[in-house]
């Protein structure tokens, strides 16, 4: 008789969990992928490959121009045209990926590690430490991010790495706040209480339940921050505080193209479109990582 509801439940269960218990095979997973998401992964993969092995994608030198080839419109030999020094724009964009992407990666990693660390500590320890950390977070949040990163740049000086650090530090407060609220939410759940109730110690419950459940949404937000870090780093590059010329960093490319805005539209348009595509893709992928809390 005790198996009745198991049987009975199995009639209802298919509506609740699709393919429950079975792992989805990779081909099936790809076929189920919404087209927009598949495209986003593709964009990110290409950008990643540009950063890792740019020479696979172009034979032009990104730093040395070819005489007589200045300001060529996009055509078959120069996919995205050339700049005022005759350098191939496509090659410059491909070689620039490494600067923009590592910058964004360093920034996110910095914010994620420091911010999440602070947030997890604040969420799991005594009231007084929690209060102190969260007050600090309030203060960091009160300074507009761009001004904060500009202040840090003044302190550290210009450059790719310094720009990345400046951007990363501005996201520490956001990560800390999110991580703390997630830890607090999970700590209040019945299953954490149940884990203590069945004899769990503070560290075992933290390790088995609190961290895995609270860090999922933190990681989803990290992916979202990757997109915004690409934007912020290109902004700093555009303002001239990032990598120095002739580095083909994407923001700097756009800044250089500005001088030819009336004659060579492709110099500003193409790198901007690339930035938009990468950021869109990163945001789309982060969305798919689960429900992103506000």
């Amino acid at each position: 008789m005790t198996t009745f509801d198991t049987v009975h439940d199995d009639i209802i269960a298919p509506g609740r969990g699709h393919g429950a218990g079975r792992r989805l095979s990779l081909p099936l997973l790809i076929r189920r992928l919404p087209p927009g998401l598949a495209l986003s992964w593709l964009v990110l993969a290409i950008a990643f490959l540009w950063a890792v092995a740019p020479s696979l994608f172009t034979s032009y030198n990104p730093l040395e121009g070819v005489g007589g080839e200045q300001l060529r419109r996009p055509d078959a030999s120069h996919l995205l045209g050339t700049d005022a020094l005759g350098r191939d724009l496509y090659a410059r964009i491909v070689y620039g990926a490494v600067h923009s992407l590592t910058g964004a990666f360093v920034a996110v990693a910095l914010g994620l590690v420091i911010g999440t660390g602070l947030g997890v500590v604040a969420g799991s320890v005594r009231r007084r430490v929690d209060d102190a950390i969260m007050r600090l977070v309030d203060v960091l949040l009160s300074i507009p991010p761009l001004l904060l990163s500009l202040s840090i740049i003044i302190l550290l000086g210009f450059g790719t790495v310094n720009a990345a650090i400046a951007v990363g530090l501005t996201s520490v407060a956001g990560f800390a706040r999110l991580a703390r609220s997630e830890v607090v939410r999970v700590r209040r759940s019945d299953y954490v209480e149940a884990a203590f109730g069945s004899g769990g110690t503070f560290t075992s419950v933290l390790r088995r339940h609190v961290l895995p459940n609270s860090l999922t949404s933190v990681l989803a937000i990290a992916a979202l921050h990757f997109g915004s870090a690409v934007l912020q780093i290109s902004t700093l590059g555009f303002l001239g505080y990032g990598a120095p010329p002739p580095t083909p960093e994407w923001g700097l490319l756009i800044a250089e193209g500005r001088n030819y805005i009336s004659t060579a539209w492709w110099l500003t348009t193409a790198p901007g479109v690339i930035v938009v595509l990468v950021v869109l893709a990163a945001n789309r992928v982060s969305q798919s990582f689960g429900k992103v809390p506000a």
Binding site: D9, A20, G21, F196
Partner: protein, 549 residues
């Protein structure tokens, strides 16, 4: 009652209704060929468990299926006119005026930022029944009609200033404002305490008689349906299992499913599910009290910051004998949850003592408290929240063993398998995550986790309240079986007196943190010691049927 020979057309006639939802991949049909009718002034109950399609059917009548739902076929005739394919614009003239709705959850069914008066007056304005200065007096008389004290004050208040029962009265006032022909009451009382539930159902009955309105009562509770409905429509998996006059269906159910429902409905079985502790094979020694609570007091500091404290439990004492089931009964705010949280050691009592199997809880701290937890285990109300969504069933059940680390890996695995088998879970469930299990299966996992440490006492906090009756009945069977085989002591917390009556040996009735009644099941139910207990017992639904059969 002989509605079939009245010359009027039925208020509502549903013919071969089929409804499907688009789940993103395909249209999945959830209501199949449902047909029934409601005559003028009649109460028809749509009875079913979760997933039966009862709410979907009700929503389709009033044209409020969610965006991914669609009517696949069939007709919905209101006074003989098919409205199933009407546009929103056409339906707007019917909704509120001819068909109205009493929703399920009064807490979230009123707009939090508008006054009660504005929300009741709104239905009059929409249909042009009143405007300008005429609205307010009508609103106040409606609020008075549904039994709200100080109606003029209530009209100026916001929903959060009213209790759940009061809010449901407001929603009923909205539903009857334009004297509709049909009221759809979708689980109108399932979110309310039992005594409030009875008063609300009485009010709906009274208004129906007064206005001659028909009622479609959607409910999971066969007891409520039996008390209130002229006819029953029993749904399962989107199909009608049985349809007929209430008396006939209850007395001579034709479908196996209806029979199962009647057997499992706790409010129908006056007899105890289990044998009393004294009549079992291994009689319980009469002086072995495993739980002793003396003068328990629990104060909380109010959260609104004025520093005053509020007493949740006030001088509670009771004892539980080894191997028996003691139930703590009360409505929301009675202090029953607070009491058990103190007993399992999650909070320190303000005063009084708790002794579990000879251990005084007040002496325990840190490691000794952790070791103590082996003796007493808690099963939560909500099996969706009490299992870590990222753990597989095996890991959930093995975790307590890891915490006390006494078993080697093979022995541990064997023990987990044995206990899962014991609670009736198939081997295949071992590797599943909680989301892939049904509610009943999850609660079995939670019970297995509680039992794996071989505790003396298991505390069940509304542990079957969230489950469908047929599932609930199986879990209760399982608990009974485990108690007999393992000699467990249960501390069972519930608001549902029908269930409590079936499974308890002794009972404590709590009201506002105080013990108002206590003793053996027979004592409390046959000779209640307080008016409150009597009111609680009278509020148990399904008593009309008990009188009939």
């Amino acid at each position: 009652m002989n509605s079939s020979i009245t010359p009027y057309p039925p208020v509502l006639e549903i013919e071969n209704l089929s409804i499907s939802y688009n789940d993103g991949v395909a249209h999945r049909r959830v209501v199949h060929d449902v047909s029934f009718r409601i005559e003028p002034g009649e109460v028809v109950a749509l009875v079913g468990e979760s997933g039966s399609g009862k709410t979907t059917t009700a929503q389709s009548i009033i044209g409020l299926l969610s965006a991914n739902g669609r009517i696949e076929g069939g007709n919905i005739k209101l006074n003989g006119t098919d409205i199933s394919r009407w546009s929103d614009r056409q339906l707007d003239t019917v909704r509120g005026a001819k068909i109205s709705l009493v929703p399920q959850d009064p807490a979230s069914s009123l707009n939090p930022v508008k006054t009660i008066g504005a929300q009741v007056g709104e239905i009059l304005r929409i249909h042009g029944a009143a405007s300008g200065r005429d609205v307010e007096p009508q609103v106040i008389s409606l609020l008075e009609r549904v039994g709200l004290s100080e109606p003029a004050l209530r009209a100026r208040q916001y929903p959060h200033e009213l209790s759940g029962g009061m809010r449901q009265r407001v929603l009923i006032a909205i539903a009857i404002a334009l004297k509709p022909q049909l009221i759809i009451a979708d689980e109108p009382t399932s979110a309310l305490d039992v005594t409030v539930q009875k008063r609300i159902l009485d009010l709906i009955d009274e208004l129906r008689t007064e206005y001659g309105t028909s009622v479609l009562l959607v409910t999971h509770d066969l007891g409520v349906a039996a008390d209130r409905a002229d006819r029953l429509v029993v749904l399962q998996g989107g199909r009608i299992q049985e349809l007929g006059a209430t008396k006939v269906v209850l007395a001579a159910p034709r479908s196996a499913y209806t029979r199962q429902l009647i057997v499992d409905a706790p409010s129908f079985s006056a007899v105890a599910r289990k044998a009393p502790a004294t009549a079992r094979e291994k009689p319980v020694p009469s002086d072995d009290d495993v739980v002793i609570v003396e003068g328990l007091v629990q104060d909380f500091v109010r959260s609104d910051g004025d520093g005053k404290s509020f007493r949740a439990v006030d001088g509670l004492s009771f004892r539980v004998r080894r191997g028996t089931t003691h139930s703590i009964v009360g409505e929301s705010g009675s202090g029953k949850t607070t009491t058990i949280r103190a007993i399992v050691g999650f909070q320190k009592p303000t005063a009084g003592s708790i002794e579990i199997d000879g251990t005084d809880l007040s002496q325990l701290r840190g490691e000794t408290l952790r070791q103590f937890r082996r003796k007493i285990q808690l099963v939560y109300q909500n099996p969706y929240g009490s299992l870590d969504p990222r753990q597989a069933v095996f890991d959930i059940v093995a975790e307590p063993l890891l915490n006390f680390g006494r078993l080697a890996r093979p022995a541990r695995e064997e023990k987990v398998r044995a206990i899962l088998n014991r609670v009736g879970l198939p081997e295949a469930a071992l590797s599943r995550r909680p989301h892939a299990l049904s509610g009943g299966q999850r609660q079995r996992v939670a019970i297995a986790r509680a039992l794996v440490l071989d505790p003396d006492v298991v505390v069940l906090d509304e542990a079957v309240s969230a489950l469908d009756v047929t599932v609930q009945a199986r879990i209760l069977d399982l608990l009974d079986e485990l108690q007999r085989d393992l000699g467990l002591t249960y501390l069972f917390v519930s608001h549902d007196l029908a269930v409590v009556r079936q499974i308890s040996d002794t009972i404590s009735v709590l009201k506002d943190g105080r013990l108002v009644d206590g003793g053996t099941v027979e004592d409390v139910f046959e000779r209640p010691g307080s008016d409150y207990t009597r009111e609680l017992i009278n509020a148990i639904p399904g008593q009309k049927r008990a009188a009939l059969v």
